[in-house]
Amino acid sequence: MSEPVDVAPKPHVAHEVHHEELGFWRKYVFSTDHKVIGIQYSVTGLLFLLFGFCLMMLMRWQLAYPGVPLPLIGSLLGEARMPGGTMLPEFYNELGAMHGTIMVFLGVVPLAVGGFGNFVVPLQIGAPDMAFPKLNMLSYWSLFLGGITMLGSFFVPGGAAQSGWTSYTPLSVIAGTGQTWWLIGMIFLITSSLLGALNFITTIIQLRAKGLTFMRFPFFVWAQFVTAFLLLLAFPPLEAAGVMQLMDRVAGTNFFLPSGLVVSGQALTNVGGGNPLLWQHLFWFLAHPEVYVLILPGMGIVAEIIANNTRKPLWGYRSMVYSLIFVGFMSFIVWAHHMFMTGMGTTMAAFFQTTTMIISIPSVVILTALIISLWGGSIRFNTPMLFAVAFLPMFGIGGLTGLPLGLNIADIPLHDTYYVIAHFHYVVAPGTIFALMAGIYYWYPKATGRKMNETLGKIHFVGSLVCMNAIFMPMFIIGLAGVSRRLFDAGAAYAFAQPTMHWNVVSSWGAWTLAIFQIPFIFNFFWSIRKGEKVGDNPWQATTIEWSAPSPPPHGNFVHAPQAYRGPYEYSVPGAGKDFVPQYEA
């Protein structure tokens, strides 16, 4: 049995001097350095966010002006999808299904977990890299392959998946080839997340610096830690389900095909005996923890930025950590609140609505703690802080509007209406994406050695905040009026929907204007790489360990092995020389 070696980590001297220079491909493309991989994930995620945004902008034309030919772009998309520039219903379905899939699995998660997690976590815990650098690289390329598969699916006969991002059976089983590609793409993406998750957990447990105990972690590290557990344990059932749906589609099995299925007036000749609800259970068993995967990293980012820009420790750090862990655990036992309309009995419904109500508590604790953290702070309203503070009410609206959905009775008129769309977009769009934007502005100096331009950032912020609300607030109204989601004409065919149809125009113009306001951000992002204000190691006067590394950090991250001497948010400590005492300073 080997003797345990002294726990002090070896000095992580910058190794570029010792190793021979890697070629271009090993250094920038097939790199095992967590920073390069983090940037790869981030750029990929941002590009897919943009693509998913474009899909949505197309949809919004149809929703605002059903049946009206789309000028210019309409003719580019071909007769098969937009004859005469007007959108076919099946193309609308394609856009809807792929918008959801791409935003969730190829946009937000790669950016929030793959991007921010990979880049920041090792730096924040004082590690030289992730525990398994080669596995990390494999995870990214698995994501890349998944992304290519998803993009490629647009070009197969019949187009991309059209059965919703939820791919409910039996519709998805009888759907065209694009659905098979969706399933294969998902298998790549799930594999990427699984491998990444085990890397994060191992890294956080094993590679943290000396003195960095769990309760001294920056909240961001805790958030990524819990998120990784969710990914690790919740994704496999969807992988199993994906394999089963693939077999139904390709091998003629009947896992999800019931007996006596009639399609277009013709009875299917398959054996049947399957259960469409089985797919829903397996899907939502992942997809509910998935929504916490979408929000937790964002909460982590917001926590860091609020502590830093209020020059105060976070209020209720311990309660926030316990809430995080509790949310993670509870997220596994609420999934069927997505299935209240499937005919479950009152007992099942009672169970799931109870767990759903309970899970709202830790979320509220975290949000409240963040809000209270502002009290008495010396607030700096830089761009990251603007986005972080805006996150709070936006997530608040999203979270509160989720409550009626979690109650069985209240869900009945709201299920699958625009109310649901408004609810989840509030949490993810002006919620998580604002947090991610905040994170980009905040950690950009660490990654590049330059700050992004503040004026452009503020324009980006104000425009985004107004437009996000313009898009999604009306959807509550439309949803309460009873308009279903996934209608290609936004309800134009229904008499009861007529009074609220005009709100679609508001949402659409909000969306197109939101796109305009991303231009300052995109410009800023690239321009600042060369022309941004140069900064040193710690431009934000922050306390966490990543700010002790050079900007940008070299291979190996730290010149001297960092050590944690205190908690992560020692701001405004009475008697200290400056208004912050870094975690890493002796």
Binding site: S2, P4, T202, P236, T253, N254, N270
Partner: protein
Amino acid sequence: MDIPYTVEVRRDTGLTNGKIGIWLFLASEVMLFGALFASYILIRVGAPSWPRGDTILDVWLATFNTIVLISSSVTMVMAWASLMRHRFETFRIYMGATILFGLVFLIVKYFEYSHHIHLGEVPSTNNFLAIYYTLTGLHMLHVFGGMMVNAYFWGPGAKLWKTNPQWFTNRVEHSGLFWHFVDLVWIFLFPTLYLL
């Protein structure tokens, strides 16, 4: 650069990175097979009729396979134990045996599958066969994957023994943990599919 705790344990956790990594991976695998077992239960409970495993499947062949896999788990432990005792040649013998047992398992499964396919019993025939093929097929892929890793450690990967015997021993242990898991899944699969 060197990632710490790849070979030596971290004192406050008592673990190496690889040890945690493999256990986490096994946790995710439990969820994967768990989901399939759960699906099996749901489909079977909802089915108007369900054949008893032994009416369609060959129990004796599967019993033989069970003994083969359990034996391979024993030889796997012996392989790792040999490394702990710095007996490299003995390691090779036991690891070779483990790989061979795995190969026997796969060959038996091949005959089992071809027999069924010959009789027209394919995944699309009924849900029992569908879940049987899916569960055993996925398991088979895991056996194959484990064998590939073991073969690597028996063959080209064995070079690591000379340069870093501690690391090599650890890696074989992790592979062994995976192999035990694969064996454990079979021990659940066998009664569920063949006997119930």
